[in-house]
């Protein structure tokens, strides 16, 4: 089943790349969403649908996939976000094909239970991302592309050394996660291997000061926001820290935990600060994303069960609302031809439903209780407070700031007087609106249900680090 879920978007993506019509892509994204919804709803706990086949058995590499509570949640949010994008983003079929291809690779990344297979997906997802940027990006895309690629590869190629080290230095017979976990690294090896992972994952979180690729990446991507939504989902650093880097080398993590906590809190605050001054939607969302990822990373780095649970929940939820906001920005661009915040005025008068949708998405980002951003943010800060009250306070400032930048942007765009009339929601946009608002509400009101598979994982994680209940 997991393999089917991974292959389904890949197959549809390949068909679209061969020139089949766009509608088929929407169908593929829809089917993928339904399948992943089914997988999530029927998830029995533990590792379900485990699949294993030899890839390079001599070297201890296996195509090993499985769906635990964590990956099941991400399967759902990724497929949902891509489906939302397929519904509303007016892009040509090949573009959507690349997006579906990337969805499949991201699903594989989240389901991989073999370190090397994880690495393969982690790297492979780069290819559709950079093709989308290069083929459909804006004027300055070449520069943005090189920044993006070099940051990514400078992080992830040295990570290959860490991957090799995680097996060879620990004496594990294979790259399977369970074998690696049974042979944790010790001493100096743990430190260096963790550092290798940390560099790659900090870039993909992203953490200050390794975030420099993010703003140009979003600014130069296609205005429809589809590529940005996928890019948001590609920010898997927090997950990778939780699943691989920290459990494989807890000793190494312990040596740099303070530093990482500090960087996470700084990212949260810095991102919020810059977002406040942003002049256009994509820059605003890029920095807001940085700020939110900082908060999420703070939770995981705190090493507490609440923090880890909250951080991961925030990561999953932010994929939907940040991705949704990028898509919304794409809708605004299509209506007004600009992404600059100051250029819109009073859109709520002519497009009240659009404004309501935007309000929901922005408030989820702010972390309003009852919407999907709140549970994760709250638990994260609770966990972070246990680890470091001062840094939690610092990160809390970013939560306040998020209200400032998000609501200011909303107010400037949709309220105030004047401005020309624009079209309200129409057609497939209603599907986008209903589905995303439903997801925001459900994830906000029933966090316990959505995070039901996360609890045991977060507990085990904290126990590994010597904390927890």
């Amino acid at each position: 089943m997991v393999v089917l879920a991974v292959l389904l978007p890949v197959v549809f993506g390949a068909l679209l790349l061969l020139g089949l019509p766009r509608a088929l892509g929407v169908l593929g994204a829809g089917l993928s969403f339904l399948l992943n919804l089914y997988l999530f709803l029927t998830h029995p706990g533990g590792v379900a649908h485990a699949f294993q086949a030899p890839l390079l058995p001599g070297a201890g590499v296996y195509w090993a996939f499985g769906l635990d509570g964590l990956s099941a949640l991400f399967f759902l949010t990724i497929a949902l976000t891509v489906f939302l994008g397929a519904l509303v983003a007016r892009v040509e079929g090949r573009f959507l094909g690349l997006a579906l291809l990337m969805e499949g690779l991201l699903l594989g990344l989240f389901a991989a239970l073999d370190l090397l297979v994880f690495y393969v997906f982690f790297e492979a997802a780069l290819i559709p991302a950079l093709l989308m940027l290069y083929l459909y990006g804006g004027e300055g895309r070449t520069r943005a592309l090189y920044t993006f690629v070099l940051f990514t590869l400078v992080g992830s190629l040295p990570m290959l050394a860490a991957v090799l080290g995680a097996k060879l230095l620990s004496g594990s017979p294979t790259f399977l996660l369970e074998d690696l976990l049974a042979h944790p690294l010790q001493g100096e090896a743990a430190f260096w291997v963790f550092l290798g992972f940390a560099l790659a994952f900090a870039i993909k979180t992203p953490l200050f000061p390794l975030h420099a690729w993010l703003p140009p990446f979003h600014q130069e991507n296609h205005p429809s926001g589809l590529a940005d939504a996928l890019g948001t989902l590609y920010k898997v650093g927090v997950f990778a820290f939780f699943r691989f880097a920290i459990p494989l080398a807890p000793e190494g993590f312990a040596q740099v935990q303070g530093m990482l906590l500090f960087l996470a809190a700084l990212s949260a605050l810095y991102g919020a600060w810059v977002a406040f001054a942003a002049k256009d939607f994509k820059t605003l969302l890029a920095y807001a994303g940085l700020s939110h990822m900082g908060v999420a990373a703070l939770g995981v780095f705190s090493g507490t069960p609440e923090g880890a649970l909250g951080g991961l929940y925030l990561l999953a939820a932010s994929g939907v609302y940040t991705g949704g906001l990028f898509l919304l920005a794409g809708r605004l661009y299509e209506r007004t031809g600009t992404l600059e915040i100051g250029r819109y005025r009073g859109l709520a008068q002519s497009a009240p439903s659009l404004a309501a949708l935007a309000l929901f998405l922005f408030l989820a980002m702010v972390g309003l209780p009852g919407l999907s951003g709140f549970p994760g943010e709250f638990l994260t800060l609770l966990g972070a407070y246990k680890a470091s009250p001062w840094l939690a306070a610092l990160a809390f400032l970013s939560v306040i700031a998020s209200a400032a930048y998000a609501l200011t942007a909303f107010q400037k765009t949709f309220w105030e007087e004047g401005g020309s009339g624009v079209r309200d929601l129409a057609g497939a946009e209603w599907g986008f609106a209903l589905l995303s608002v439903l997801a925001l509400l459900l994830m906000g009101v029933f966090p316990g249900y959505f995070a039901r598979g996360l609890h045991p994982l977060a507990e085990a994680f904290a126990k590994l680090l010597g904390g927890g209940a």
Binding site: L55, L56, A124, A161, L164, L168
Partner: protein, 427 residues
């Protein structure tokens, strides 16, 4: 058997070339190479020895790769003179011999047998590339002298001319070092790489394909048999990956750029020499031969001569198959999964990790991140918009081979296990 087929075809065609039309010689050459390939596959995994000529796993794997490159080269060329095909055939003979012996004198003969045809091929289009070919010849002769001197010292240190003879002491180390220099020249390892950019740029593109793929395969087969001292190896790898990747950044011409990239790749391959794992090196070379061959094959369809980077722009619009294949080749050379180049890199790098050479390993990884800059520049240029220039669609043979190589790169990337056991049975 492989040796006999190659030798018979070479000699026979030397005589028949004067009466047959060039196209006939081309077909006969292709037939000879294909038969040699078939004989190789029929005896796969079965060692065979006749005096110092020993066909073992290493010999089979690397001869296979060399023959692939030779077939590709001959297929791409339409020469009006039959000598071109013959030279490739003679060089292939030398390559097979070089890969199939441990005897230093036979190795020297083989080295010359593969080098002399290449000197001639490098100047194939008269007037052009003469300076480069002269450089190639002079440095090649010097390298052969180094090799010969190394062989003499080896005999002095061990009393034997067969590689693998036990020995120790400074004389023995020096001998191995000199052999390494001689072969490192053919493999284009820095600091013995100075001929590479000039020769690649000045020679006809199909010849460059041959040099970049087959010659490298043969040279690395011989290098596998030389138990190089790890310190010397570390120096060669470090210099090759740094010089190759950094110099490639500044290039404006595709063939010259790929010449530097081939130097860097020689450095990555040398990582597998730490443990002498023929399987890892063989797989790396297989992916490298496919990707580099593909790249040069595409370039040869754009122009037989130099290819400034601007000439690649818009290739995708003119010929989608060649454009996509070129992108696949670049991504595979860069080592991005899910393409075969990634597993090649993984296997070679794992050997260095197993030998504990972490410092060199990290340097190689960081420099391969640098290489993303120029590989992507090349690979994405084919999608760029460009003013319409007349473009003759690629020859059918070239397109079919490009398609096959591209599909293989993807298939081996997803299922590297398909061929690895076979390489192990050979190695």
């Amino acid at each position: 058997m492989t040796l006999a087929i190659l030798a018979i075809f070479s000699v026979a065609l030397t005589l028949l070339g004067f009466v047959l039309p060039p196209q006939g010689v081309k077909r006969a050459t292709l037939l000879g190479l294909a038969l040699a390939l078939a004989s190789l596959l029929l005896t796969w995994g079965k060692p065979f020895a006749f005096g110092p000529y020993t066909v073992d796993g290493v010999s089979q794997v690397f001869t296979l790769l060399a023959l692939l490159g030779a077939l590709w080269t001959v297929g791409l060329v339409r020469s009006r003179r039959f000598e071109f095909y013959l030279l490739v055939l003679y060089a292939a003979l030398g390559m097979h011999l070089l890969a199939s012996t441990r005897h230093l004198l036979l190795m020297l003969v083989a080295l010359e047998a593969l080098s002399l045809p290449l000197y001639a091929l490098a100047t194939w289009r008269r007037g052009q590339g003469l300076e480069a070919a002269l450089k190639y010849f002079l440095l090649g002769a010097l390298a052969a002298a180094f090799f010969l001197y190394g062989a003499a010292l080896f005999y002095g240190a061990t009393g034997s001319l067969v590689l693998g003879a036990p020995g120790e002491g400074p004389l023995y180390t020096l001998a191995l070092g000199l052999l390494l220099v001689g072969l490192g020249f053919k493999a284009a390892l820095a600091p013995f790489h100075f001929w590479t950019p000039d020769v690649y740029q000045g020679s006809p593109t199909p010849v460059v394909l041959f040099m970049a793929t087959s010659v490298k395969a043969a040279a690395f087969a011989a290098l596998l048999r030389v138990a190089a001292p790890p310190e010397a190896l570390a120096l060669l790898v470090a210099l090759s990956v740094v010089v190759g990747n950094l110099a490639a950044l500044a290039q404006k011409e595709a063939k010259r750029l790929l010449a530097y990239s081939s130097i860097a790749h020689a450095g990555y391959m040398a990582l597998a020499l730490y443990t002498g794992n023929a399987q890892a090196l063989g797989f790396y070379l297989l992916t490298y031969v496919l990707a580099t061959g593909l790249a040069f094959a595409v370039l040869s369809q754009i122009s037989p001569d130099r290819v400034p980077l601007e000439a690649l722009r818009g290739l995708y619009r003119k010929d989608p198959l060649l454009g996509l294949a070129f992108l696949v080749a670049m991504l595979s050379l860069l080592g991005l999964p899910p393409l075969a180049g990634f597993w090649g890199k993984y296997l070679a790098f794992a050997e260095a990790a197993r030998a504990g050479a972490w410092g060199v390993l990290v340097l190689a990884l960081v420099t391969s991140a640098v290489s993303a800059y120029y590989y992507l520049g090349l690979g994405l240029a084919v999608f760029a918009r460009a003013e319409e220039t007349p473009f003759r669609p690629g020859a059918p043979w070239a397109r079919a081979a490009a398609l096959a190589a591209g599909v293989l790169l993807l298939a081996l990337g997803l299922l590297p296990g398909l061929v690895l056991p076979a390489l192990a049975a050979g190695g």
